[in-house]
């Protein structure tokens, strides 16, 4: 009897708290794993910055849609000259920055010139390398002159690193970002949370939410507890894939599984013997069982890839069969290359779990064909120093999360050091091509070329896994860029 009363009291207490929660359905709390170092997307590579500000606070001339396609943003429309060298953008009129100043062509010129300047600290400066000059023709018209045709130019402008900022507010943007987006920055409790609120004066479709709070929860167990306790409503990039089935079974939650731009690869030092021998790299490719890695390291979330390209892209070519799992073939290839007894090498792993867990599995698979790898676990800063800048590695595992980054294979100094003139010419052709059909043809050829050269071990496309309250609508399922686009998000009562 006593128990029943207790239970009743508890249930009614819960009902009251639940009722209170429903009263504020224009607010949302989002869990993110990493805290942004600061909030200026044009001054660091940290994806956590874009997780908060992309599309919410800052906008560029163009932007990525949820499916990865390019949409107009601050630019209403554009005209491309016949030779592909001149882009004339018409800007939306009446756009205001959050501090009340108006956004016009001078701000666009300032932002693009700042990003490509000599003293620029833009992490993706290469995106702007082809710009020859920027002219503000009138308040809403900007002309960008390129030094060579660049078919990816509109795509480049959609990156978070290419957002439009104002000269008056950029100096304080690291702590007080001032953009043109549907949300304004409100508060940052360092180490704990960032709050953004609806921009009442937004030029476009206004946001449906009034407030959004980003809470930083790095520990996977803590993330699980926070979602279960409903302290956070959405957790994009949920860090504990092993718990996803539990959320899927719980009617309070929805789990969105999509894809990202993250090609996870077994990067191979192409200049270091024996990996300078393509036969060895081919053997390596056949020694790896991708599905075992996806199942073991990612709990089944991830799509196998056979080249460095995102499977959701219409130009993707499925080349996984070319490097199918065949340890016997791998052994015979190694013997053919002069390593009948295998060899020893290093496998340097950065912190993410795909690398640490995946590394153990790959090491075991390589041991089967006689390759003994010595695993070392590195922090990111060490990884950048030793692997990325020092070329001091045999193998490493890393997810290349930048969108459309097959162009890195044209950089011979890039850490895996693939130096192929044929590929470099192909990329030059790609930049010069503006016709969609031509670009598609070249992109497919490029994918085949790096697969034929077995430059790296192509493992899987990183999945995007979001856990959210079942009543939230409008979240991105895929992650074409790192972002938590809240512009269309609302609660369904």
């Amino acid at each position: 009897m006593k128990h029943t009363t207790m239970k009743l009291a508890l249930t009614s207490a819960l009902a009251i708290t639940a009722g209170m929660a429903y009263a504020e359905t224009t607010d949302i709390t989002i869990g993110i794993q990493l805290e942004p170092p600061h909030l200026d997307p044009t001054g660091a590579a940290a994806g956590a910055i874009d997780s908060v500000v992309y599309a919410n606070i800052f906008e560029g001339l163009t932007r990525f849609a949820a499916d990865g396609s390019i949409m107009p943003a601050l630019a209403e429309s554009w005209m491309i000259s016949e030779d592909g060298l001149t882009y004339t953008f018409s800007l939306h009129s009446g756009v205001k920055f959050h501090d009340g100043t108006s956004m016009d062509s001078e701000d666009v010129k300032f932002s693009l010139d700042r990003a490509r300047a000599e003293e620029s600290t833009n992490a993706q400066k290469a995106l702007f390398a082809g710009i020859d000059s920027v002219e503000a023709l009138d308040a809403t018209t900007v002309r960008v002159n390129l030094s060579a045709p660049n078919g990816a130019f509109l795509f480049n402008l959609a990156w978070g690193d290419a957002v439009i900022v104002a000269p008056e507010s950029i100096d304080d943007a690291k702590t007080h970002p001032v953009g043109t987006g549907p949300f304004v920055f409100t508060n940052w409790v360092q180490g704990d949370q960032i709050t953004i609120s609806k921009n009442a004066d937004y030029w476009g479709t206004p946001a449906k939410l009034n407030n959004a709070t980003f809470k930083f929860i790095s520990d996977p167990t803590a993330a699980f507890a926070a979602v279960m306790a409903e302290d956070v409503d959405v957790f994009p990039g949920f860090p504990a894939p092993e718990n996803l089935p539990q959320f899927e079974a719980d009617p309070r939650f929805q789990v969105l599984v999509g894809s990202t731009e993250g090609e996870t690869i077994l990067s191979t030092n192409n200049k270091m013997p024996p990996f300078d021998n393509v036969k060895v790299r081919e053997a390596l490719a056949h020694a790896i069982d991708r599905q075992a890695i996806i199942d073991g390291a990612m709990f089944g979330y991830g799509t196998p890839i056979g080249t460095h390209f995102a499977p959701h892209n219409p130009d993707y070519v499925d080349l996984t069969a070319q490097s199918n799992y065949d340890p016997e073939l791998a052994k015979s290839m190694l013997a053919e290359a002069g390593f009948p007894d295998g060899f020893e090498t290093t496998l340097k792993l950065p912190p993410p779990s795909y690398a640490r867990r995946g590394g153990e599995i790959i090491a075991a698979q390589l041991r089967e064909v006689g390759i003994n790898v010595e695993i070392s676990n590195l922090e990111w800063a060490q990884w950048l120093e030793q692997v990325f800048r020092g070329y001091d590695f045999g193998l490493t595992i890393v997810s290349h999360t930048e969108p459309m980054d097959i162009g890195i294979y044209a950089r011979p100094e890039y850490y895996f050091q693939y130096d192929s003139t044929a590929f470099q010419e192909l990329m030059e052709d790609l930049n010069a091509a503006t016709e969609p059909d031509d670009r598609s043809f070249i992109l497919k050829a490029a994918q085949r070329m790096i697969a034929d050269d077995y430059v790296n071990g192509y493992l899987f496309q990183l999945a995007s896994t979001t856990v959210a309250n079942a009543n939230i609508v409008g979240l991105w399922q895929n992650a074409p860029t790192q972002a938590t686009d809240l512009t269309a998000v609302y609660w369904n009562d």
Partner: protein, 315 residues
């Protein structure tokens, strides 16, 4: 007492100077460049060079050490590489969580340990003693992060009495702030209380068998009177030592608990800064923690002298 205090202060100053050199050298030799970390894998070498210049990383280590140490003496801890905000503000914010949490946990642990330890010592061999010993044995053995997760599971996920973590800020009110720190404080206090209770008990038992207690008993004091009037004060020395150590540990070592409850405390700041190679923050926080530890030791030393007049005379 004055000479004793001065001597302790001199050793405090020297410890700090030595610590600053060790910390600076140790952190400088850690490989990894903050500028490359921040700009990621697509950055061009000239961009990294521009950022290094902006961060003031291109001057010699000696100059940086001197700037750091002289700045620190005037309360200027420099500017964080990654956050670009003054380190002193960042530490200030974090201390507003770590310090109350440490005090909260220590208060809980003392409130549990003292009665438990005294009870166990005064009724040695009784059911009470055996149960205190049993429970504290368990308390010492249970890892605090595991206990923390258990607390979250029961009180946050099932009962929904507390949120699973995070800190809403003191501006939301004292009660809200303390509520957010309650589960972490309990998780931190349990192992500490267990250790403290055991030390209290054994120290008290030892003291109770000393000659002066026998004398006191012979004068006609009951066992209870002898314990409260004479033994307790004498038994405090090892207990104070443990409390001092525990406080230092709670200030600096709450990092795992801070992670479980995602509290923005000092421990997490250090952890984050190390991975981002935000060296200036690491150096300053570690230095501050060293200062706190040395200061607590100093206070404990003074407290020894207060409870034990012999220490005063000896110096």
């Amino acid at each position: 007492m004055l000479r004793y205090t001065l001597k302790r202060m001199l050793s405090l100053g020297l410890s700090l100077l030595a610590a600053s050199v060790v910390i600076f050298v140790a952190i400088e030799v850690v490989p990894g460049d903050p500028a490359s970390y921040m700009l990621g894998i697509n950055a061009q070498p000239d961009t990294i060079a521009a950022l290094r210049e902006e961060l003031g990383l291109n001057v010699s280590a000696m100059t940086r050490y001197i700037t750091w140490i002289t700045g620190m003496m005037t309360g200027d801890f420099g500017t964080s590489y990654t956050y670009r905000t003054p380190v002193v503000d960042m530490i200030g914010d974090r201390i507003m969580i770590s310090l109350p949490l440490a005090i909260y946990a220590l208060t809980l642990s003392t409130l549990i340990a003292f009665p438990a330890g005294i009870l166990a010592a005064s009724r040695r061999g009784s059911v009470a003693d055996v149960s205190v010993m049993g429970v504290t044995q368990l308390g010492v053995a249970v890892p605090n992060f595991w206990f923390a997760m258990l607390l979250v599971l029961v009180f946050s996920i099932n009962l929904r009495w507390f949120s699973a973590g995070g800190f809403p800020g003191w501006d939301k009110g004292l009660f809200v702030g303390l509520k957010a720190l309650t589960l972490p404080a309990i998780a931190l206090a349990l192992p500490q209380a267990s250790i403290l209770a055991r030390v209290m008990r054994s120290s008290l038992i030892d003291t109770m068998s000393e000659d002066f207690i026998r004398t006191a008993r012979a004068k006609g004091l009951s066992k209870r009177q002898a314990l409260w009037r004479h033994a307790l004060r004498n038994a405090m020395i090892p207990v104070l030592t443990i409390i001092g150590l525990q406080f230092s540990f709670l200030m600096a070592g709450a990092i795992i608990i801070e992670n479980v409850f995602f509290l923005p405390g000092l421990g997490r700041l250090v952890f984050q800064s190390i991975s981002q190679r935000d060296l200036i923050v690491v150096e300053s926080v570690v230095m501050l923690l060293v200062f706190a530890v040395v200061l607590v030791t100093f206070i404990v030393d003074i407290a020894y002298a207060a409870v034990d007049p012999r220490l005063r005379r000896r110096s």
